[in-house]
């Protein structure tokens, strides 16, 4: 079928070309081309690439496609791109043992070539995990490389839980341009009907209605040449294939079983391919590529054809494809597994699936690795118990890494039963320890404790090894999280001793982290040394998760204890490390703590920005959401802004099930503060008491102090025992000492809060701080207290005074500005003010600089907004356009 001109696609092509121009100017761009299957994403991109060929500054265009395999090959689109770049890149990628090597080689190769480079990744809704990570990796490093990254996907298949969704959300917003394709209009469908002879004009409206203007459906329906419009795109495709000869049909059936495209040699190896049969296939819209491979014009057509192949015949064909692929050699294991599985050839699945999983693991495509283990297990009934158990253990670990906790638990239980039956106590104990960890993730604390004890009981009977050391450290972690310091230190100590004796660095780092965190909470200086040692070991040995965890615990403790400088340092290092190693959940967790830290320092704009960046992310975990919700709610409450309750209600609902003081306490205090600022403190007492009840098990002086001081402010009794110094002072009635302590710490809002308990001078000082911070709600409280204590004429605030001329314009500049507002030119201003035109020019540039505007018009607008304009022209905002 001849290629048709693209209809109604000019503006989308223009949008892509604008991105190309930006990339040519050295900016990074990411274009997201979206729309349902058949909307014409590929056609648009082909046309875009075709036009680039004749462009003056012809860019390098690289194509990569994601595959519709059940379990996609890791980094398949990058292999495509590497082949086009050539050189040693394809070999380097194929042989690389580590993923970061692959990613760095890819970005180097992209940056080295011609500028601009247009890299296209098609069908990202099918992307494997490693490819999704690659998109994120490239997106973050694109800025100055002069690369346009085009990503196409079916946005209607990408729901908020689809992994691509969070990847797109993480791309730098300033670089992203969206190109959402739309269906064809009725007029466009009518013109296609006109072009396809032999149809009545009345059909066009019906065709448009049934196809919804989907270009692929329209084309297929027109080509099907049925009396009526086929009801679905599948029917249209099948109708076209119905007229094929037997030989052509055999080719179509075979091609339907090979996602993507079928190579010429594979086709020939499995079925006879007379030229006229191939011609027939091309006549129904299949495509023959330059390399001799044959493909359906669209995956929708392949699916429809695939469904038409009867199951027994399909199995036989898959077996023949598999045999041909094996004879050919050099085929990735992923592809062999796909056909072996569909051929029902268990021996072949078990031969290739572990290799496919291993490759996926090396490239950190953990979702795909889990899928390969699951495929192998479907064919593993006849395997010996130990081999099946190993497959379940592999599956469990990959599920754990991809946050499929329920699946991981189920797989661990299978492995446990198999190991137990085989009498392998070491592996039994290790599976028990894993079940403990997984149960904690699952929110099942009781089961977690039971498994932890069972693991130690089981492993203690054996000679001490790494499994036992890990079981000890797991116990330490559980007790640390539950706030049981003594038990945590006890188990942690055993873990450290055994790990040191065995030389197990990773376990040592893990155990030191647990012990150090506990000791820090206990205000034990040695805790920091433990944590820093844990961090050092992790950094030296490339234990990325452990390093991120150590940074997080160091930073979060510093934030909780108001050690502002230390917190700033740990946060900066930890976030930079997580970014550099693409440890996204850790980056989000630390960013949430940074929001809290900004709030403590009084930088509310930065606090709100950090919190918002977490809350906007669909996959942020509860432990990251809680501090973000609290921080944003407090910024709003303190500014007197709306939208507080929905944030705090969500935070409360997320925090309560954790049962942990470190999550529940801050939410209770924030709810108390919001209620207190609103003048209804008594409504917060119940929440504060819930949090206070947790204090005995988890004695953190800063959280407890915060809870107790809010109990007092809200009118209840508060106990200063166990509260950190600034809180204890306020509870004891020493507002002066409390305020001084907060001032020394550098937490201005906390200082203002403490000053509210003081005399007139203290209240005035509090008011000053509030005005500087923009704390309208607390300023209101301070003014009310001042008035109540008999002080008259409480100023409305510094805001009013400074706002009159906050930019510090000189008298002459103000005069010039007044004339600018009236629209006078420089010559006229010069005449009126009796100065030279050159002087006016100087004044004007000074004004532009001080007002941070670029033109006289903008300066005039700014002057009017700021009330800086002397002249009154009498109009009001919005009176006239």
């Amino acid at each position: 079928m001849p290629a048709m001109a693209l209809l109604e696609r000019e503006r989308f092509l223009d949008a892509l070309d604008a991105c190309r121009a930006d990339a040519a100017a050295g900016l990074g761009r990411i274009a997201l081309v979206t729309g349902e299957a058949g909307i014409g994403k590929t056609s648009l991109l082909r046309e875009f690439a075709r036009r680039l060929e004749s462009a003056a500054q012809r860019p390098r265009v690289l194509w990569g496609s994601c595959e519709a395999l059940f379990t996609p090959h890791p980094l398949a689109p990058l292999y495509d791109i590497a082949r086009q770049i050539g050189g040693d890149l394809p070999a380097l990628i194929a042989d690389a043992e580590r993923r970061d090597v692959v990613f760095n080689a890819a970005i180097e190769a992209l940056a080295r070539g011609a500028r601009p480079t247009v890299a296209i990744i098609e069908d990202a809704h099918w992307a494997d995990e490693a490819t999704l990570d690659l998109i994120k990796f490239l997106g973050r490093r694109l800025e100055r490389l002069g690369i346009l990254l085009v990503i196409s996907y079916r946005d209607d298949e990408v729901n908020p839980r689809h992994p691509l969704c969070s990847v797109v959300g993480d791309l730098p917003a300033t670089l992203v341009r969206r190109v959402p394709l739309e269906p064809l209009s009725a007029a466009a469908v009518a013109s296609l009907v006109d072009a396809a002879a032999g149809r009545a004009a009345g059909d066009a409206a019906r065709l448009h209605e049934i196809t919804g203007g989907n270009p692929f459906f329209v084309t297929e329906a027109l080509a099907a040449a049925e009396d009526d419009v086929p009801p679905t795109v599948r029917d249209a495709v099948i109708a076209r294939m119905a007229r094929l000869s037997e030989a052509a049909r055999a080719i179509v059936d075979l091609a339907a079983l090979v996602p993507g495209r079928i190579e010429g040699w594979l086709l020939a190896a499995v079925t006879p391919c007379p030229p006229d049969a191939i011609q027939e296939c091309l006549a129904i819209g299949m495509v023959m590529h330059e390399d001799g491979s044959l493909a359906f014009r669209h995956e929708l057509a392949r699916r429809a054809a695939d469904e038409q192949v009867p199951a027994p015949q399909g199995r036989a064909l898959h077996a023949r494809i598999l045999a041909a692929l094996r004879r050919h050699g050099g085929i990735p294991a992923t592809r062999l597994v796909h056909h072996a599985d569909l051929a029902g050839d268990s021996a072949a699945v078990l031969e290739f699936a572990p290799a496919a999983a291993a490759r996926a693991i090396a490239l950190r495509s953990h979702r795909e690795a889990a899928a390969h283990f699951a495929t192998a297990l479907r064919h593993a009934d006849a395997l010996p118990a130990a081999e099946r158990a190993a497959l379940f253990e592999g599956l469990a670990y990959e599920c754990y890494l991809t946050e499929q906790i329920a699946e991981a638990i189920a797989a661990r239980k299978e492995a446990l039963a198999l190991r137990r039956a085989a009498g392998d106590a070491l592996k039994e104990g290790d599976n028990l320890r894993w079940l403990s960890r997984l149960s904690w993730f699952d929110g099942n604390k009781a089961a977690s404790d039971d498994y932890a004890r069972a693991a130690i009981a089981c492993l203690s009977a054996l000679p001490p090894g790494r499994e036992l050391a890990m079981a000890y450290s797991n116990c330490a972690q559980l007790y640390m999280l539950a706030g049981d310091a003594q038990a945590a230190l006890d188990w942690g100590g055993r873990a450290i001793a055994l790990a040191e004796r065995l030389g197990e660095i990773e376990i040592l780092s893990h155990a030191l982290n647990n012990v150090g965190s506990v000791r820090l909470d206990e205000a034990d200086g040695g805790g920091r040394a433990d944590l820093e040692r844990s961090l050092r070991l992790a950094l030296e040995h490339g234990l990325e998760e452990h390093a991120a965890r150590a940074y997080t615990n160091l930073a979060s403790t510093a934030v909780r204890h108001y050690q502002l400088e230390r917190a700033a340092r740990h946060l900066a290092e930890g976030i930079a490390y997580s970014e550099a190693h693409d440890l996204d959940s850790w980056r989000r967790y630390m960013t949430a703590f940074r929001a809290q830290h900004h709030l403590q320092c009084g930088d509310w704009t930065a606090a709100a920005a950090d919190a918002d960046s977490i809350l906007r992310h669909s996959r942020a975990a509860a432990i990251s959401r809680i501090p973000s919700l609290v921080t944003l709610a407090l910024v709003r409450a303190r500014r007197g802004d709306p939208g507080i309750d929905q944030l705090l209600d969500e935070a409360w609902a997320l925090a309560l099930p954790t049962g942990e003081l470190q999550r529940i306490g801050p939410v209770a205090c924030a709810r108390a503060e919001a209620a207190w600022l609103r003048g209804r403190p008594e409504t917060a007492l119940a929440d504060l008491r819930i949090a206070d009840a947790l204090a005995p098990q988890q004695p953190d002086a800063w959280i407890i102090g915060d809870i107790r001081v809010w109990l007092v402010r809200c009118g209840a009794e508060g106990d200063d025992a166990g509260a950190a110094p600034p809180f204890a002072r306020e509870i004891a009635g020493d507002w002066r000492g409390a305020a001084a302590a907060w001032a020394a710490i550098g937490a201005p809002y906390a200082e203002a809060l403490a000053l509210l308990g003081g005399d007139e001078a203290a209240l005035r000082r509090a008011l000053e701080i509030c005005e500087r911070l923009g704390a309208a709600a607390l300023a209101f409280v301070a003014r009310r207290r001042l008035r109540a204590s008999g002080v008259r004429g409480v100023a409305r605030g510094a805001q009013e005074r400074t706002r009159r001329n906050p930019q510090g314009l000189t008298t002459s500049e103000l005069k010039v500005l007044a004339l600018l507002v009236e629209g006078r030119r420089n010559a006229e201003i010069a005449r009126r003010l009796f100065v030279s035109e050159k002087t006016v020019g100087h004044h004007v540039s000074a004004i532009l600089g001080k007002l941070a505007v670029r033109s006289r018009g903008e300066a005039a607008a700014a002057a009017m907004r700021l009330g800086l304009a002397g002249a009154r022209t009498g109009a009001v905002l919005g009176a006239e356009k």
Binding site: V635, A776, E800, A862, G867, A869, A875, V876, L877, A879
Partner: protein
């Protein structure tokens, strides 16, 4: 998208000329706001000295309202989330 009523105080009154410059000033403000996803619906200005304005915006959050205000040097005295009440709806 939430709707906000933003109260602003102008110590020396708010003055926008009824001419091309005034139109341009408003247009520039509308565009700046839109860039951050905030739509300026309209405003009421106190008749006495133009000292106070009540502006209606549709925007994603109070933070966005404050962000665009800072960009355009507009004061913000109070932000209230509001919704429409149409008295004639009850007729």
């Amino acid at each position: 998208m939430p709707r906000y009523l933003v109260e602003r105080d102008f110590a020396d009154g708010l003055h926008i000329p009824v001419n091309a410059d005034g139109a341009k000033a408003c247009r520039a403000m509308v565009d700046t706001y839109l860039h951050d996803g905030v739509t300026w619906v309209h405003s009421y200005v106190s008749t006495e000295g133009n000292r106070k304005s009540f502006c209606i915006y549709d925007g994603p959050s109070p933070e966005a309202i404050r962000r665009v205000a800072a960009k355009t040097n507009m004061p913000v005295n109070k932000i209230t989330e509001v919704r429409v009440l149409d008295p004639y709806f009850y007729r």
